[in-house]
Amino acid sequence: MTTAHAEAADGTLPHEPEKATLEGRNKVLAFWLFLGGEAVLFGTLFATFLALRNQTNEGPSAAELFHLPLVAAATFLLLVSSLTSVFAIQAMHRGNVAQLRNWLVVTVLLGLAFLILEIYEFSVYIRHEEFGMTTSAFSSAFYTLVGFHGAHVAFGILWISVLIGQLLYKGLTVVTAPKIYVSAMYWHFIDVVWVFIFTVVYLLGKVG
C-alpha cells in the first residue's frame, strides 16, 4: 500500500504499468474473478436460450428470422475491435500514449458500429417480422441473451470513452494503466461471448 501511487523516480513508466502497484495487480486479479462471475451469468442465459429456442409459440422461428450476412458483418466488426484493443495495450507497453489513444478510439468506433447494426437488426425484427419481447418464449430468450450482450457492448463503449478522456487529461500513469488494461480484458470477454452467440444463436438457429 505504501507505494500504491508512486511512480518511477525518473518519471518513466515501468514496462507493464498496469502491474506496477499492488492496487493495479489487485484490480487485474479482481477483474479476472469478475469475469468468472460474468461467465456464469452468460452461461445461465445460454442455458435458458437453449431450453427455449424451439418454443416459438406460432411466432417466427430462428430459421425464418435470421439474416446471416448482416450478423456476419457485425461479428467481423467486433472481432476486429478486439484486435485493435490488443494493439492499444501493446502501444501502452511501449509507452506510446498517442498510439494507445488512437487504437482505443478505433476500438470504440468499431464497437459503436456493431451496436448500430444490432439495433438495426432488432428494429427489423420488431417492425417487419412482428417478433417482439412478448411474442414467444424463444423471442424473450433471444432478446434477453443478445440484448444483455448488447448492453455490455454499450457499457464498454461508455467506459472506454471515459478512459480515453482520462488518458488525455491525466496521461498514462500507474493509476490509469490498470484501468485501461482491465477494460481491454472486458472487451475481449464480450467478444468471446459474441462468438458463442454467433454459433449457438445464429448458426444453430439457421441449420439446427
Binding site: 489487485n26 462471475g37 418454443q55 412478448t134 424473450s140 430468450a141
Partner: protein, 615 residues
C-alpha cells in the same frame, strides 16, 4: 456522516452487523407472527394472504438480509486481521457492497407499506410468482430488491477473494491460513459462481412480470420448471454460503478454548473445498417430485449423500480437537459445543431427504421445515452467536457479560429444540408446510402449541442477547489485546478495537496459528516483517452511498413503469422511465466522479504511530 462515508473494513463490519440485526429482528417478528397463527387449529389471527406474505418475507429476509450480513460483518471485522493485512483489497468496493445490500433490503421491505409483500414463498416458484397468481407488486419488490442486494453480496465476495489472495502477511501461505479465513475464501468463491445464476433468474422473472416476456409462461411457450432449475442451482450452493462460515467460526473457537491446535487441519481444508464443489452438483434434490425421472433422481440422490462424507470428517475433527484438550466452556465455546450435535441432527435428516423415494413422502411437509431450521438456525445461527461472543471484544473493545451470555445460550437452544424438534413429527404425520391453518383433532394441536412456546423462548434468548449488548456498550472499552488469553491467530496480537491501520508493522508468520507459535517460543508479540514507516490509507467517500441510492431509485422507477397513477405528473415520470433514468444517472454520474477524481488517500506518519496506538 462518518458512517456513511467510511471505507474502513472494521466500521463496515459494524454497519453490516447493525443492518443484519435490524433485518434479523424483522424476520424474527415475522416468525413469531407465523407461530402465533399456528398455535391452535382453525386460528383466525391472520388471514391466508397475510400468512403467505409473512412466510415469504420471513424466509427471504432471514436468508438474504438477516444472516448473510452478519456473516459479512464477522468476515469484515476479522479477515484482514487474521491474514495480517492493513485493509481489504478494495475499500471503496467494500463500502459499495454494503450500501447496495442495505438499499436492496430496504426496497424489499418497503413492500409492506406499498401495497403488499411478496406472497409466492421465498423460492418464488413460477407460476405462483407470475402475474396471474400474484398480481400485486409484491413479487416485483422481491425480484428487484434481491437483485440489488445480491449485487452487494457479489461485490463483497470478489473483494474477499482478492484480499485473501493478495494481501496475506509474509509467511502466511495458504496452508497456514486460519480456518475462518479459508471458509471465507471458499464461501466467496461459491458466491462468485452461484449469485450470477440467481441474477439471471431474477431478471427473467422481472421481464416476465414487467415486460410480459414468456420465460415461465406456458401459454407463450415458456417453462416453469426452468425457474426451479435456475433458482436451485443458485439456492443449494447458497446454503453452503451460509454454513461454511459457521464451520469456519467453530474451527476457530473450539481450538482456542481447548488449548489445542485444530485436529486434522489439512483434512478440514480439503473437506471445505470438497463440500463447495459437491454443493454445485446436487441442486435437483429440491426437485425430486417435479418429475425429472428416475435416472436423474437417482444421480442427484447419490451425489447429495456424498456430501455427508466431508461433513462427517469435519464433525469428527472438532470432536477430536476437544478430546483431551483443556476445554473451557465460555459462552462462545458453549455455542460451539451446542452447534455440533444440533447441526448433526440437521445433517441426518438431510440424508433422509436425499433419498428420493422417501422425499416423495417428506416433501412440502413440516419435516422439511424442521430439517432446514436445524441446519440454518441450529447450525448457522448458533455458529454466528459463537463468533459474535468470541470476536465482540475485538470489534468493540468490550467483553460481553459471560453470565448473560450463558442465559442467552440456554434459553435459545432449549427454545430452538422445542420449536423445531416436534416439527419432524408434525411432518411425518402429514402436516403440510405453507398452509395457514389446520383442522382440529388430527393430532397436530399439542405439537404446534409446543412449537410456538419454543419460538417464544428463542425470542427471550434474543432479547437477553440484546440486553447484554446494551449493558456492555455502557461499560468502558478496556478489553485487552488477547481477552481469551489463549488466542491463536493474528487478530489477538493487536489492540481491541484495532487502530485504523490494524498492524503498526506487518507481522511475520512462522507457522499455522501464528500467534500461538510465538507464544510457545516464549515471545510476547509477533516479529515484524517490515520497519516502521508511513502507512497509506484510503480516504472516506460518499460515492458508494450515492451509487446505491441511484440504483434504488432506478429499481423503483422500473417497477412502477407500467402502472396507472391518479396524478398525471406521476404517470409522466414513471411511465416514460424518467425516474429510472434519473436513478441510473445518479449511479453512472457517481461512477464517473470516481473515475475522474483519483483517490490518493492519505498517510499516517511513523511519529503518530508511536504515541497514538498505546492504550
Amino acid at each position: 456522516m462518518d458512517w456513511i462515508t467510511t471505507v474502513d473494513h472494521k466500521k463496515i463490519a459494524i454497519l453490516y452487523l447493525w443492518a443484519g440485526g435490524l433485518f434479523f429482528g424483522i424476520g424474527g417478528i415475522e416468525a413469531i407472527l407465523i407461530r402465533i397463527q399456528l398455535i391452535k387449529p382453525m386460528n383466525t389471527f391472520l388471514d391466508a394472504q397475510t400468512f403467505n406474505e409473512l412466510i415469504t418475507m420471513h424466509g427471504t429476509t432471514m436468508i438474504f438480509l438477516g444472516v448473510m450480513p452478519v456473516i459479512f460483518a464477522l468476515m469484515n471485522a476479522v479477515i484482514p486481521l487474521q491474514i495480517g493485512a492493513r485493509d481489504v483489497a478494495f475499500p471503496f468496493l467494500n463500502s459499495l457492497g454494503f450500501w447496495t445490500f442495505l438499499f436492496g433490503g430496504l426496497l424489499l421491505n418497503l413492500s409492506w407499506v406499498m401495497g403488499g409483500a411478496p406472497d409466492a414463498g421465498w423460492t418464488a416458484y413460477t407460476p405462483l410468482s407470475g402475474k396471474g397468481y400474484s398480481p400485486s407488486h409484491g413479487v416485483d419488490f422481491y425480484t428487484i430488491g434481491l437483485q440489488i442486494a445480491g449485487l452487494g453480496t457479489l461485490i463483497g465476495g470478489i473483494n474477499f477473494l482478492a484480499t485473501i489472495i493478495t494481501m496475506r502477511a509474509p509467511g502466511m501461505s495458504f496452508m497456514r491460513m486460519p480456518m475462518f479465513a479459508w471458509a471465507t475464501f471458499i464461501t466467496s468463491a461459491i458466491i462468485l459462481f452461484a449469485f450470477p445464476a440467481v441474477t439471471v433468474g431474477l431478471v427473467l422473472l422481472t421481464f416476465d412480470r414487467i415486460l410480459d416476456a414468456n420465460f415461465f409462461n406456458v401459454d407463450g411457450g415458456g417453462n416453469p420448471v426452468l425457474w426451479q432449475h435456475i433458482f436451485w442451482i443458485f439456492g443449494h450452493p447458497e446454503v453452503y454460503i451460509l454454513i461454511l462460515p459457521a464451520f469456519g467460526i467453530i474451527s476457530e473457537v473450539i481450538p482456542t478454548f481447548s488449548r489445542k491446535r485444530l485436529f486434522g487441519y489439512s483434512s478440514m481444508v480439503f473437506a471445505t473445498i470438497l463440500i463447495a464443489f459437491l454443493g454445485f452438483m446436487v441442486w435437483a434434490h429440491h426437485m425430486f417430485t417435479t418429475g425429472l425421472g428416475p435416472v436423474a433422481n437417482a444421480l442427484f440422490s447419490v451425489s447429495t449423500m456424498l456430501i455427508a462424507v466431508p461433513t462427517g470428517i469435519k464433525i469428527f475433527n472438532w470432536l477430536f480437537t476437544m478430546w483431551g484438550g483443556q476445554v473451557r466452556f465460555t459462552t462462545p465455546n458453549l455455542f460451539a459445543a451446542g452447534f455440533i450435535p444440533t447441526f448433526t441432527m440437521g445433517g441426518v435428516t438431510g440424508v433422509m431427504l436425499a433419498s428420493a423415494p422417501a422425499d416423495f413422502q417428506f416433501h412440502d411437509t413440516y419435516f422439511v421445515v424442521a430439517h432446514f431450521h436445524y441446519v440454518i438456525v441450529g447450525g448457522l445461527v448458533l455458529g454466528l452467536f459463537a463468533g459474535l461472543h468470541y470476536w465482540w471484544p475485538k470489534m468493540f473493545g468490550r467483553m460481553l457479560s459471560e453470565s448473560l451470555g450463558k442465559w442467552t445460550f440456554w434459553t435459545f437452544i432449549i427454545g430452538f429444540h422445542l420449536t423445531f424438534f416436534v416439527q419432524h413429527f408434525l411432518g411425518l404425520m402429514g402436516m403440510q408446510r405453507r398452509v395457514f391453518t389446520y383442522l382440529p383433532n388430527q393430532q397436530f394441536d399439542t405439537l404446534n402449541l409446543v412449537s410456538t412456546v419454543g419460538a417464544f423462548l428463542m425470542g427471550v434468548g434474543m432479547i437477553i442477547f440484546l440486553v447484554n449488548v446494551f449493558l456492555t456498550s455502557r461499560r468502558p472499552a478496556d478489553a485487552p489485546e488477547d481477552p481469551w488469553e489463549d488466542g491463536r491467530t493474528l487478530e489477538w496480537t493487536i489492540p481491541s478495537p484495532p487502530p485504523e491501520y490494524n498492524f503498526k508493522q506487518t507481522p511475520l508468520v512462522r507457522g499455522l496459528d501464528a500467534f500461538w507459535k510465538e507464544k510457545m517460543a516464549g515471545h510476547k508479540a509477533m516479529t515484524p516483517a517490515e520497519p516502521i514507516g508511513p502507512i497509506h490509507m484510503p480516504s472516506a467517500t460518499i460515492l458508494p452511498f450515492l451509487m446505491s441510492v441511484g440504483i434504488f431509485i432506478a429499481g423503483l422507477g422500473f417497477m412502477f413503469s407500467r402502472d396507472e397513477f391518479s396524478s398525471s405528473m406521476m404517470s409522466f415520470l414513471f411511465n416514460n422511465y424518467i425516474v429510472t433514468a434519473l436513478g441510473l444517472l445518479i449511479t453512472f454520474g457517481s461512477m464517473l466522479m470516481r473515475s475522474l477524481f483519483d483517490d490518493h488517500g492519505w498517510h499516517i506518519e511513523p511519529e503518530e504511530l508511536e504515541g497514538g496506538e498505546q492504550r
